[in-house]
Amino acid sequence: MDAVLFLIFAAIAVVCALNLVIQTHPIASALSLIGVMASLAAIYLQLGGEFIAAAQLVVYAGAIMVLFVFVIMLLNEGKERKAKRRLWVTIAGLPLLFVFVALIHFMILRVLPPSDSVKFGAFTGGNAEAIGIKLFTAYLLPFEVTSVLILIAIVGAIVLARKEVD
């Protein structure tokens, strides 16, 4: 059952990610990215990360991507024009990526014993309470710093995007 669920969502994620790369239209890419995120949220649930799953939905899919879609619609650029693709990128890039994945997979297999496997609900440390406690005790300072970062980001975004009032 676990395997089935995982495979379903993993398939969705990979297909959506591929779509993201292949599609020439930003909106399509954005939607497929949302798909990736949603399926990842499901996978997080499977890994016992309830809070992270919810955060994934609320923050990523619910807020960030809305922002993206908003901007895409605002600019409404349309399809990506077919331009002279710089050749070496294609030639070098694709094999490079395959090598990349292969290497990582090789390493993963080498480092991790295949024995340990994921069972749904075997790890409950990821519920909101545990995360909250950890976040406000051990990781208090990073948390505060991050909030300051957010504040700065807000100000920066406003400064950048507002019309110059002459």
Binding site: L31, I34, E50, A54, L57, A63, V69, F70, M73
Partner: protein, 395 residues
């Protein structure tokens, strides 16, 4: 796997009930607005227009779907799908009552209980915006685009105060699962004031309840926040180019969102399915009383019919109501029905408020809308949250 089967059964029930509620909610809305405006409202199809929703559905299904030219077909059809999807999913997470035993099976009146239910519902309903925005963008029409942009901006803006308003009662109840939220509101002060979060100490959450409701209006694009479909500015906003089923989908989505918001409000602030006053003062007799009285009223009207066919219809309703009243008196039925009754009553009240407001208030201007969100709602919610946190910390 009994679990799966059970879930499927529950799902079926929920969907059926929901669909009918959606259909009839629209009838109710039309009726209520009509009466507010001193009109009669739909009454041709069936007695008191009771079959109107059926007619509408048939019409929408059979009507030809217009596909405007130059639209981005995929997204054009994807949009209503997304909208409906994310409007309906949250229904699976909402509990309508406590634990029950039916035919020896012990289960809960809820499709699935997630320990972070409210967060999940929040996230999912937040994703409904894609439907609207995409629809606006895909139908290749400047009014629609305006509508889509407006709705996405509006949703993002109002999600903040909404989240903050939700956070305050969660602080008091100290859980994220709907079930525990409701359990946290059991009991009464001095034996008669219910321990709902709007009354519960240390800090009664009336403010955040109001804020939540206002934000809910905005999230569901209801009057006075229905800028995305402001007729007099944008024809019909994001669904200008939609007709027949696709249009119906958006319609459904809007009502489903309304119901979701009302349910969350009920669960979070109004104590879910807990009665308004304790058993020993006969709260369990209330439904029988109401239905009984309405049944008698029906009979009395049937005696002096205003319209000829009332002579047939009203007695039927009278019997129906009296039957319901009897049903509520059966002890075995009570442990299932009472929670549903109270839950439905509270949710219904809130839905009525939705309709009432729509019939009453004018629409915001767009800048007012945003300004309201950022300069009033957000600070107010923050302050409320702060005060609550202070109270919780001190108690």
């Amino acid at each position: 796997m009994p679990y799966i089967v059970l879930s499927l059964i529950k799902l079926l029930i929920v969907v059926l009930v929901l669909m009918h509620t959606l259909a009839y909610l629209q009838w109710v809305e039309r009726k209520v607005i009509a009466h507010v405006q001193l009109r009669v409202g739909p009454r041709r199809v069936g007695p008191h227009g009771l079959l109107q929703p059926l007619a509408d559905v048939i019409k929408l299904v059979t009507k030809e779907g217009m596909l405007p030219s130059h639209v981005n077909t995929i997204f054009y059809f994807l949009a209503p799908f997304i909208a409906v999807l994310f409007a309906l999913i949250p229904m699976c997470l909402i509990p309508y009552g406590g634990d029950i035993n039916v035919f020896g099976i012990h289960t809960t009146m809820q499709v699935t209980d997630v320990s972070i239910g409210i967060l999940l519902v929040f996230g999912l309903s937040g994703m409904g915006v894609y439907g609207v925005a995409l629809a606006g963008w895909a139908s290749n029409n400047k009014y629609s685009l305006m509508g889509g942009l407006r709705s996405s901006a509006q949703m993002i803006s109002y999600e903040l105060p909404m989240a903050l308003a939700i956070a305050a009662p969660l602080l008091i109840l100290n859980t994220l699962s709907f079930r525990h939220i409701v359990d946290g509101q059991t009991g009464f002060y001095f034996g008669f004031i219910p321990k709902w979060t709007i009354f519960q100490g240390p800090v009664p959450q009336i403010v955040s309840f109001v804020l939540f409701m206002v934000a809910g209006f905005a999230e569901t694009n209801r009057v006075p926040f229905d800028l995305p479909e402001a007729e007099n500015e944008l024809v019909a906003g994001f669904h200008t180019e939609y007709s027949s089923m696709t249009f119906a989908a958006f319609f459904m989505a809007e009502y489903a969102n309304m119901i979701t918001v009302s349910c969350i409000a009920t669960l979070l602030f109004l104590g879910g399915w807990h009665p308004l006053w304790p058993e020993q003062y006969g709260s369990s007799l209330l439904p029988s009383l109401i239905f009984g009285v309405s049944g008698l009223v029906c009979f009395s009207h049937a005696a002096r019919p205003a319209r000829p066919f009332d002579r047939i219809t009203l007695p039927v309703f009278g019997v129906l109501f009296l039957g319901l009243a009897g049903l509520f008196l059966i002890p075995a039925g009570q442990q299932i029905l009472m929670p549903l009754f109270w839950f439905g009553a509270k949710t219904g009240t809130i839905l009525f408020v939705f309709i009432w407001v729509r019939a009453t208030l004018p629409r915001f201007r767009y800048d007012q809308l945003m300004g309201f969100a950022w300069t009033f709602m957000f600070p107010a919610a923050l302050i409320n949250l702060f005060v609550t946190a202070l109270g919780v910390a001190l108690s």
